[in-house]
Symmetry: C2
Subunit: 324 residues, 2 copies
């Protein structure tokens, strides 16, 4: 991507945007949907009012635009939330992932140069599932999974602050569940009594890896012990003479805390699942490797789809459907 601004303006076909709570990323695509430019900013939903989105978008991609005509901008994520640019109402599951663009909304713009489509999230309520749940942004990553495989059937996991597990059947999301895993880990590691005991783990270190895997297995076998094992980590730090000392001790205890949080998620997400189908992990490599370790420890295999690749593929699918 050493394309000059003039070349981008000449080749640009449309723009893809993943607009989250705390940042946004934009890609410029040519008519073959190859990426010819990209940019990002920390102006996520949490730092923008509804009338500030258009200006922020023009600030970022204005230089890419051809001098004449309107350029399509496909946007997924929190920009379509009620507190975002304009609400794109949740589509209730089951929803076919190649039909997300049917729920897109088009905010009224000042500029004539852009045509913006905000994609919807997915929801489930007690009328179509066992529990209330929502996603906004992850559905587009899931669409990326079915872009190359329209009849995809299986289980996908998107690890993160609010980890999502989705059951897909022939290219449709039939049911999904969100876990507070990443947020729970952060709160416990940074704000609870455990902050005195934990550091930053490295699962390439054998002691960290073993502590992580043990914790996953313990919680998977006995999820009811989650709350006591949290305090037990503090007690272990005070009393266990077999732990390493100093930074290494804090790192091992971090790995254990991470294993407890992820293990609690897996205890539910993998409950009554057959282990003969691989689970598709979508996200950044390091976090997906961590999940692979955890899932392998309880007998599941995984395959990995990069998160950026997935979201771009999902936005391509949505743009294609819109223009079909």
């Amino acid at each position: 991507m050493n394309t000059t601004t003039a070349e981008v303006a000449h080749q640009l076909a449309w723009i893809a945007v993943d607009w989250g709570s705390s940042n946004l990323r934009a890609w410029g695509l040519d008519k073959h949907t190859n990426v010819i430019a990209q940019t990002r900013s920390d102006k996520g939903m949490l730092s923008l009012k509804a009338d500030e989105y258009e200006a922020e978008l023009l600030r970022l991609v204005g230089d890419w635009l051809p001098t004449t005509g309107q350029t399509d901008v496909m946007v997924c994520g929190m920009a379509g939330a009620r507190q975002g640019w304009q609400e794109a109402a949740y589509l209730p599951v089951p929803t076919r992932l190649n039909q997300l663009s049917q729920g897109a909304v088009t905010p009224t713009l000042t500029s004539q140069r852009l045509s913006v489509y905000l994609l919807p999230g997915l929801s489930q309520t007690r009328s179509n599932a066992t529990h209330f749940d929502v996603m906004r942004g992850e559905e587009t990553q899931l669409a990326g999974l079915v872009a190359d495989n329209p009849a995809f059937t299986g289980l996908a996991c998107l690890p993160g602050t609010h980890a999502k597990w989705a059951s897909l059947d022939a290219g449709a999301v039939t049911q999904f569940t969100t876990y507070l895993t990443g947020e729970l880990y952060q709160l416990l590691a940074q704000q609870s009594v455990l902050k005195h005991s934990v550091g930053s783990d490295d699962l390439n270190d054998p002691a960290c890896r073993e502590a992580f895997i043990s914790a996953v297995s313990e919680i998977n076998a006995a999820p009811e012990t989650f709350s006591s094992r949290l305090f037990g980590l503090r007690a272990q730090d005070l009393l266990d003479s077999h732990l390493p000392t100093g930074k290494k001790r804090a790192d091992v205890l971090s790995a254990r805390l991470s294993g407890l949080a992820i293990g609690l998620e897996l205890a539910d997400a993998c409950d009554q699942r057959l282990s003969d189908e691989p689970i598709t992990l979508i996200g950044h490599q390091a976090l997906c490797q961590r999940y692979t370790l955890a899932l392998n420890a309880i007998g599941f295999q995984t395959q990995h789809l990069d998160g950026d690749t997935a979201v771009l593929a999902g936005l391509r699918l949505a743009h294609h459907a819109l223009k079909a």
Copy 2:
């Protein structure tokens, strides 16, 4: 207790102190161990250096002291921690609760007017139990339970930030487990994404009570769903048209969050317990009433011992043992 300072100084036999992390409470007792004076301060362990404890104690109780002679001061809690006044090493379980004073330490003082005894906490390691655990302060409340019933056998629960469950056998603690319940609730209610959804519950309100009891029962039956039910609470707030609106909605969701946190504790603490023996709750009335509701919902009966009564009775028992 309209006793004048002069009368206190005349009648004072010894002083009882519960010195915690964030505050301390002191009671002046006469020779019949009746309370004749009391005071408190917010100078807990977290705000004092080791060489500041004596001055703080004298500042609080100096006026109570007789003009001549030494006055015993029995102290339980974090003042005896390694980061406190002076470490009173943990006694490993099993420990008979009438023998806590055998582990007391006596810090060297500048003043000739006091004789201070810092009581130890309890610990368990993998050599004497299934998991690492510690308590410091709660053992004295448990001693209060056996003060009137030296052969007490049964299960006691001390709800709080770090809730403790202890198995007592003939007046000895044989095993105990700490749950991060209160801290987990606070972090989730105040610092997580759930802060946008929760208010402050009142379990006298039927809708709050029902939400609380449902949550306890759900998690007790399926503790592996804890992490997903946390996010589900946020999703329910976004989607559930059957919830009340406004403040009432936030209050009901608070009650649900409290039920999830306490339910997770009970799922472990009551696992494989017989429900024919009442569980003794030690602590403040409102919190113990909340635990009673939760325990009744899953088939257990409770009895209540006030927390202040318990700690005073435990300090009396320790002082009596020391002087016997």
